[in-house]
Symmetry: C2
Subunit: 257 residues, 2 copies
Amino acid sequence: MTETTQDLLTVGQVAETFAVTVRTLHHYDEIGLLTPRERSYAGYRLYTASDLERLATIVVYRRLGFGLEEIAELLAGEGDLVEHLRRQRAAVTTRLTELRELVTALDHALEAEMGNRPATTEELKDLFGDGFDESYAAEAQERWGDTPAWTQSQARTATYIKADWESVKAEMDAVNAAFVAALESGEPPTSAAAMDAAEAHRRHINDRFYDVSYSMHQGLGEMYVTDARFTQTYEDLAPGLAAYVKAAIDANAARQQ
Amino acid sequence: MTETTQDLLTVGQVAETFAVTVRTLHHYDEIGLLTPRERSYAGYRLYTASDLERLATIVVYRRLGFGLEEIAELLAGEGDLVEHLRRQRAAVTTRLTELRELVTALDHALEAEMGNRPATTEELKDLFGDGFDESYAAEAQERWGDTPAWTQSQARTATYIKADWESVKAEMDAVNAAFVAALESGEPPTSAAAMDAAEAHRRHINDRFYDVSYSMHQGLGEMYVTDARFTQTYEDLAPGLAAYVKAAIDANAARQQ
DNA sequence: GCTTGACCCTCACGCGACGTCAGCCCGCAG
DNA sequence: CTGCGGGCTGACGTCGCGTGAGGGTCAAGC
């Protein structure tokens, strides 16, 4: 049944038995993880039964994803196997969720590439109204095209599909509604409600478009009262809202120490 | 709002804006993936707006898990993005299932390590009867301990927990039942039914214990009629079964061309 | 004008587990 | 004696940077 060649196997035979490559066995020898007890006079590696046992354990641990050094520890009796198993499990599950997120990101990108992204500005106009026309986009490019924030924003929104823009719009509407509510209930821009709305505003831009520090946020607030187009947008929602928003943003920025 | 330093950003600024390290930018420069258009007279890298745009795209692709070389291709306009996305998705999902299997393997190993593996031979005796006692195991070790097959078998069964052994027993019973049915219905060992049972037998050992080629399988069949203990086991199931099994194994081996 | 500290530069090795030559040796069959 | 199928030992390549080492640059404060 066994070819009893003195019970010593050469690398090739061992490699085939355990479904690993010869190079792998060489490597294990190099790093001292598995050194065959014997060598033929010609220098051939000869594996004994105990070597095979050790290799069997190594192969099992490798399938469990352990590193070679870690395996060496375990074989030396140092370290608790159960603890290593737990750590490994934790690491693998972490990687699993990362990969799952990657898949959804890829699906997202695929959808976007397949033509699900808003055709030019058509659908965006439907969503955001006529204030969002080509001339606006062109001017924005003109004014901010060379800022990092604009670049970042372009990179992120490039993969937004219609559903994303709908979420963006919903969030934006919610923030505006919060501002209007605070204003109309007579609360000052320094009230918690107004400042919370300002913070929500900052987060919205930060999450959806580009990183916004508190000072950058104040820059935006300033613009809302100095740039006629932005002022108009806010005034259409409620009289005095543009200035109110700016003040709330300033108060919120001051609130952060 | 923007610090307009001639619209040229240094590595540090760019790195912070895109949440990458300076080293990464150096690396992209080294491999020619992103070479800043300009350098200061002191040799400082100066990134222009178009450099930032390119970097933005690179960062997005990186998040999607593409390799740098692949990204270079895409940026050069070679290769279809959608196709790359699909390939990437396929690769990631493959890796996902691998990792899922790894987790179950780890859970398995954990269960086994936590004491769920059969205490010595107690539970095995319950399952397999008294034929499975220590003297048997010792003798097996004695006879086959130095064969690769034995080593492989030990490595695999070492992580078997009670549930695994129950599955093993169920499979074994099913195979034996098939042999008995074929024998008692008067079909010859060369019948399809008998040969199929032999093949199931080989697969069972192959999957649960160690790799079994057809010739090795015939070696086992031979042993069933020459080793009294094995013969007895089969004869207890049905008179003449040991010889019948051997013949079926030989027929099945011959069937494979 | 000088020092300080924060940045920037260019090498160049390290990582993890082998894959992949290259150049050479051994043993056995014809 | 000559192949041919192994086995041997270097040693470099992989992938995307991390991490020093050793040394300039620049704006600010003294």
